[in-house]
């Protein structure tokens, strides 16, 4: 499968995401004005500050031509992974439930932390964000938990931003669209201390049917 990594004006983690994808298969960047994904079977919406985070993080990026194509891919069951700002974009686009709010502490957080996947796996992955507090109304959160849509939680005591129910990442109902605030693409090489991030990419690839 060919991975496409979106690139918006203001993206800043697309190179690391591209590197992570290239460890799993073929990968290329997709400029935000590209309307045709042209053979891309899975997409990563990377971190950064798309369109300067103007208005709200992710609010403008969701209207880009490339995001229309991503919505089509997602509807067809293709794997889509949103990381940090990419998670915010997917929430704004309605591809994932909920929203990301300013950290409870008002501080930008940048640290290595542990995530627990819903299969019980523990992953050491860095987080770096100022607006990562996952929010959804209680009835939505109950639904996510009941449907197995909470993909990752911060390990007990490590919630860095006040996210509801320690939620670090969620998936859509079909399971092929996943978003999380921490950065698996920064944890794919032993040189940076952990390769656990690769397991996030692998899980998303396995959850989606490549187009």
């Amino acid at each position: 499968m060919i991975w496409g990594v979106l690139q918006f004006p203001g993206s800043c983690d697309e190179r690391d995401a591209l590197h992570a994808c290239s460890l799993l298969g073929e990968a290329r960047l997709v400029w935000h004005e590209e309307r045709d994904l042209d053979g891309v079977g899975g997409v990563v919406v990377p971190g950064g500050f798309s369109y300067g985070d103007y208005l709200r993080a992710g609010a403008i990026a969701r209207f880009s031509p490339a995001m229309e194509a991503v919505a089509e891919l997602a509807a067809a069951g293709g794997p889509v992974l949103g990381i940090c700002n990419g998670f915010q974009v997917l929430c704004e686009a309605g591809l994932l439930p909920g929203a990301l709010l300013l950290n409870e502490s008002m501080r930008f957080v940048c640290r290595q932390l542990d995530l627990v996947g819903d299969g019980g796996e523990r992953l050491s992955i860095p987080a770096k964000h100022g607006e990562g507090r996952y929010y959804a109304p209680d009835e939505v959160l109950d639904g996510l938990e009941a449907n197995g849509q909470v993909a990752y939680r911060y390990a007990p005591g490590q919630n860095p931003n006040g996210s509801a129910r320690d939620i670090a990442g969620v998936r859509n109902e079909a399971g092929n669209v996943v978003g999380l605030m921490p950065h698996p693409e920064h944890a794919v090489d032993p040189l940076t201390g952990s390769t656990d991030g690769l397991r996030v990419f692998e899980a998303v690839a396995a959850a989606g049917a490549p187009a």
């Binding site: 208005l55 709200r56 209207f63 909920g98 929203a99 709010l101 300013l102 950290n103 929010y135 109304p137």
Partner: protein, 74 residues
């Protein structure tokens, strides 16, 4: 063209750390007796068809899940 102002604020009940930070800073500046501070956004615009502003707010200016909005035509 008709002018309008859109006020966007965090929904009641959602923690607003910006409002809290402002509120906490006030006593140090000698402002007592101010509470329930909330920080939002204001968008000023001119619209040919003000009837469509609500749709604009729902789709872009506000995120209805976390924010309330108020349209004032001027």
């Amino acid at each position: 063209m008709p002018r309008a102002r859109v006020l966007i604020r965090p929904k009641e009940g959602i923690l607003d750390p910006q409002g809290k930070a402002v509120e906490r800073a006030l006593p140090a500046l000698g402002f007592e007796g101010i509470e329930h501070v909330h920080v939002g956004r204001m968008v000023e615009l001119e619209a040919e068809d003000p009837e469509r502003l609500a749709e604009l707010c729902e789709k872009l200016l506000a995120n209805p899940l976390i924010e309330d909005y108020e349209i004032q035509t001027l």
